[in-house]
Structure formats: C-alpha cells, structure tokens
C-alpha cells in the first residue's frame, strides 16, 4: 500500500487547498497563503529533519474473491483514521468521513510522476455558472432539466493525458477536377478534366492530448479542448490539494493510434490547402510517418458535473483552464413538434399566398 500525503497549514494545522484565483496554496481556516515554491522548500526541510514517517497500516480483514481486490486499494486518513477505498488509478481523493483532501503519494512518483500539470484557473462557482449558461444557451431543453437542484455531483479532477509532439512527414496524391462549359444552338456542353496532384513535405505538431484514463470518456475530454500547454508548470503534489486526480491507466502505446489519426487528418487538410485552382480535390492515397516524435505525461484540469433527469444521468465537463463546457443535454421532442407546427403553418401560409398571387396575376 502507498502512503498518503496531506497538505497541512504550518500555522493552524488545517488542511490547505490550491486556490484558483491566487494560484497559491491557501488555508480555508486561517486564510494564510503559501507560495508553491516556498511550500516545496519547507517540505524538503521538514523531511530532512523529520524522524521516521508515521505510517500505520491496517491489515485486511475481509476475505476477497479471486481478482476482486486487484483494482482496490485501502488507505487510512491521517486526519480522522477513516478508511479510504480507492481504485488502482486514483491519485488524489477526499476522505469520505472528514472530507480531508489527500494525495496518494506513490501514484505520482518515480516513473508515474507527471511531467506537467495545468493548474485549475476556474473554481467550482465558475463551473456551476458555466453549466447554467451552457443549458440556457440551448433550445428545446425540458424545463425540469434546468432546475439547479438536479445537480447531483460537482468535482474538480486532474485527468491524466499523454501529449504527443513530432513532425508528420507525408507523401500525398490528390485527384483534382476542372470544368469548362459552353453551348451552341442545340446543346449545352460540360467538359471535366482530371488531374493527378502530388505533394510531399512535413508539418509540426505540439502537445496533442490523448486521454490516458479509462474513467473519462475520450469524446467528452476532446470536446473541451483545447488546453494551453504553455500555461503548464512542472508537477508538484501541492497543485492537487483540494481536487481529485487519477494516474493514467491507458498506456502511451494504446494512445498512439488516436494521436496518429488526428495528425493524419490535419496533415491531409494542410497539404490539401496548397492545391489551388481546382473545383474539387480529393485524396487518392497518402503515406505518413512521424519524425522526432516525443511524448509527455500531463495532468489537465477538468470540472465534472453530473445531473440526473428522468432516470438518466447526464455528465458535463468544463475545461478547468479555459472554461469551455461540453455535455449532451436532453431535447424536449414535444416542444420541437410544437415549434415545427407553428413555424410550418407560417411557411405554408406564405407559400399558399405566393401560389394565390401567381395564379391571380
């Protein structure tokens, strides 16, 4: 089992959290703020002077079936002694008894240590407001769904991502057409000329993110892109304070195909843009390889909001850096039909009016 770490306030001993507005650690009890760098130095000094870690391990008393316990880890909260049960990928969570935010140290150390983290720039209040605006901006949403009370869960999560960079070197064959038209007294003529077009070259990509967690739907994570990796900082567990986090459980090898697919599509579009003077251009065949490829492991901030309506659960995600919101909203089909009827009647009346005018004039 791994050890747990908690960020404790040196002044009052309370559990400190990462504050979005100031981008520092802040104690919610005594309002003292601490710079991340200063906290790092303090921790290093404390660990050099400290005696042995006080780690207590509870023996497992229950009898698990074969493979049942493989993905379950049990930890003890240092604040209240309560048991925290988390799966193998959980990196940061909260104690279900005292609400204390904890970071599971071993999940983000050694080879599992992320290269980068983008700290949260927007807080829970902003997430709620964004969800409200997201629903408000949509049409034909059932009235009951817009009720705030139906928001069942809202949590800030650092989602593991693999970031791919490299040069796409491609050879592409296109087929293009040009059309000429003319007429004589009897016929109209259309002549279509076909051309073979070849392009070869390279295109650079930086930090294409691919979701490294099986818990997060890939399409939901891609819907809230882009993240700005220029605002990423070197990883430190202090940034996780107050938020949930998972380590990756999808290996980088499993994420390559998705990155390659997106690179191929963008490369084809970019070279297609260099073909001018044709009425239609389609890709005939394409070969591509990646040069100077590299990858990094990063944690990206995401606010997850869950709502329930009509027995169905709806999940929304907000980009914790940019505020972009995504999530499917139910459609009130009766409202669609009603609007179609009203607008359809108006369109029909206009068409009939035009018919009457054309007939009478």
């Amino acid at each position: 089992m791994s050890t747990l770490t908690e960020q404790k306030c040196p002044c009052c001993g309370g559990a400190i959290e990462f504050d979005v507005s100031s981008q520092n650690l802040k104690c919610p009890y005594c309002d003292t703020e601490f710079d991340i760098a200063a906290m790092k130095q303090a921790e290093e000094a404390a660990s050099a002077a400290a005696a042995d870690d006080s780690v207590s391990w509870n023996p497992q008393t229950a009898q698990w079936q074969e493979n049942e316990a493989d993905n379950i880890n049990v930890y003890v909260c240092n604040s209240c002694g309560g048991e925290i049960i988390a799966d193998h990928a959980t990196g940061a969570t909260s104690c279900p008894y005292c609400g204390n935010q904890v970071v599971i140290k071993g999940q983000f150390s050694g080879e599992l240590r992320p290269d980068l983290v983008i700290p949260f720039k927007l807080d829970k209040k902003a997430a709620k407001e964004a969800l409200k605006n997201h629903i408000k901006s949509k049409k034909f949403v059932p009235k009951a769904f817009t009720d705030d009370n139906r928001l069942e869960e809202i949590k800030g999560v650092y989602v593991p991502h693999w970031l791919f960079s490299g040069d796409a070197v491609a050879n592409i064959n296109f087929k293009g057409t040009r059309t000429r038209r003319w007429a004589d007294s009897k016929n109209n003529y259309v002549q279509t000329s076909y051309y073979g077009i070849f392009r070869s070259g390279s295109l650079e990509f930086n930090n294409i993110p691919v979701d490294g967690s099986t818990k997060m739907p890939d399409d939901l994570m891609e819907s809230i892109e882009p993240f700005d990796p220029d605002q990423a900082v070197d990883f430190h567990t202090a940034y996780l304070a107050g938020y949930l986090a998972d380590k990756y459980d999808v290996d980088v090898d499993a994420c390559y195909p998705r990155a390659n697919e997106r690179v191929k599509s963008s490369t084809s579009d970019a070279f297609r843009g260099t073909v001018q003077g044709y009425e239609s251009v389609v890709v005939d065949n394409m070969s591509m390889n990646i040069a100077n490829g590299s990858y990094k492991y990063a944690l990206y901030p995401v606010w997850l909001l869950k709502s329930k309506w009509n027995g169905k659960e709806y999940t929304f995600a907000m980009n914790g850096q940019t505020g972009k919101m995504a999530g499917d909203i139910p459609t009130d089909n009766k409202a669609v039909l009603k609007a179609s009827g009203l607008v359809g009647a108006a369109i029909g009346a206009v068409m009939f009016g035009i018919y009457c005018l054309a007939t009478l004039l």
């Binding site: 109209n188 390279s202 995504a326 179609s340």
Partner: protein, 253 residues
C-alpha cells in the same frame, strides 16, 4: 367538295380584304360560327361541342373566341396570321366586345403543321405572350396525339383559366405539409446543438504555425470527359400581325 367550297369562300374574303371596297374597314359580314373547320378534322358532333363551348366562353367573358382549321396545302405561301387578320377584320372588328382571340391551325403532314393564336383589342392584356405560349403548347401536344376535338377543348379550358383564374384549395394542405417538413428539419438542426460531445476530427489547434514545409509537388493532366446536354427550348414565337393583333405561333412541327 367541301374543301373547294371553303377555298372559294376564303378567296372571296381575301378579295374584299385587299381594299377593293372603300368601306371594307367598317363593314362586317354576317356573323359566322366560332368554329371554322376548313381542314375537316372534326365530326359533326365534335363540331357542335366545340362550337357550343366557344360560344359559351365568348358570352361569359365578353370576348370573341374563334377556332379556324385550314389545310397547309391550301395555305401555301400565305402567312398563317393573315387568316386570322382577315377573319378579324371582316367578322370581329368593331364588335361590342372587350377583345378577340382566334386560334388558327394549319393542318398537314409532320413538319408542316402550325398553330397560331392571335389576340386583338383588350385580349392582348389578358393573354400575355407567356400565357398564350403555354396554351399553344397544350394544344400542340393534343394535336400531336391526333385528338383535334380535345385540342380545341383544351384551348377553351385554358383560355377560361386565363380569364377566370381559380385557386385550388387543395394546394393549401399541401403547402402546410411542405411547410411543416421544412420547419421540422430546421428545428431538428437547432436541437442538434444540444449534443456537444463529439470526438475531434483533427489536431488543427496543435499545429505549429507556419511549420508546413512542402518539399515537392507536381500536377499532371490525366484525361477529360465531355457531356452534351440537349437544350430544352420552346419553338414558340410572338410578334405583331399586319392587322394589329398580337400573334403567338408554334412554328412548324
């Protein structure tokens, strides 16, 4: 025999219309039936039916309507509009009506037939070139199929439609149904915005700007394909007659 009689009568009419009589412009012959079937295309019962329908159309609308058929051989080099002008001058000019519409059909073999509709007076305003061209086309299709009685019946019906346009109320539910379908498609497109979760197609946001480097490129001509699409054109033409009417003719068919 009947053909010879018609030719004789027509020759007399032509003589009078040439200006020999000083008062030709104001002199009206006795009234003739609205249908003059010189080409003998209709049976007696068909003639009665066409006559009655033309008379009814004329009475209801305060205009004169006439149908004249003539053999192309008889017509010879004479322009088809001359027939109409002569009839108008001698039978319909100065009558107490709002206008006159005369359909002349020159009957012959394929490539020798021709239809001409001439309008006089206020009939020119009601029967525009476009509307008259449509009537010519409708009559032409019946003549091509060989049903002459139906062709002249179509002339009567279409002329009545021009003067007394009727709104078909069955069009209203059709318009409403089409309107509903269009509106439903639009509303569904608006509602589709409620689904905002989708995979990214590409990585355009992660392309380093100005990093596209094209090292080689070529464009080669392969082949061409040419299609000829026949023009759909109407051979109808409209012009002013020497007698002051407005004629729309089909051209030889």
């Amino acid at each position: 025999m009947k053909k010879k009689l018609f030719a004789f009568v027509f020759a007399i009419i032509l003589c009078f219309s040439s200006g020999i009589c000083a008062y030709a412009d104001d002199y009206l012959f006795e009234e003739i039936s609205p249908l003059l079937d010189g080409a003998m295309l209709l049976t007696d019962s068909e003639k009665n039916e066409v006559n009655n329908s033309l008379a009814k159309l004329s009475e209801e609308n305060g205009m004169d309507f006439a149908v004249v058929t003539v053999l192309a051989d008889e017509l010879g080099s004479t322009d088809i509009t001359v027939y109409a002008d002569v009839l108008y001058k001698n039978y319909y000019h100065n009558r107490d009506v709002d206008g006159t519409v005369i359909l002349v059909y020159s009957h012959g073999g394929e490539g020798e037939r021709e239809i001409c509709i001439v309008r006089y007076g206020k009939a020119e305003d009601e029967f525009t070139d476009g509307k008259t061209s449509d009537i010519v086309d409708a009559v032409k299709s019946e003549i091509i199929s060989g049903d002459y009685a139906q062709a002249f019946s179509v002339f009567v019906k279409e002329s009545d439609k021009v003067l007394n346009p009727k709104i078909s109320w069955i069009v209203l539910p059709i318009c409403l149904a089409i309107g509903f379908v269009i509106a439903f498609i639009i509303m569904k497109a608006i509602a589709s915005a409620n689904k905002s979760v989708r995979n990214k197609v590409n990585a355009a946001e992660y392309v380093r700007s100005e990093s596209l480097n094209v090292v080689d490129g070529s464009e080669i001509y392969l082949y061409s394909q040419t299609r000829a699409i026949p023009k759909a054109s109407s051979s109808n033409s409209s012009s002013r007659t020497s007698g002051g009417g407005r004629a729309t003719r089909s051209g030889k068919f």
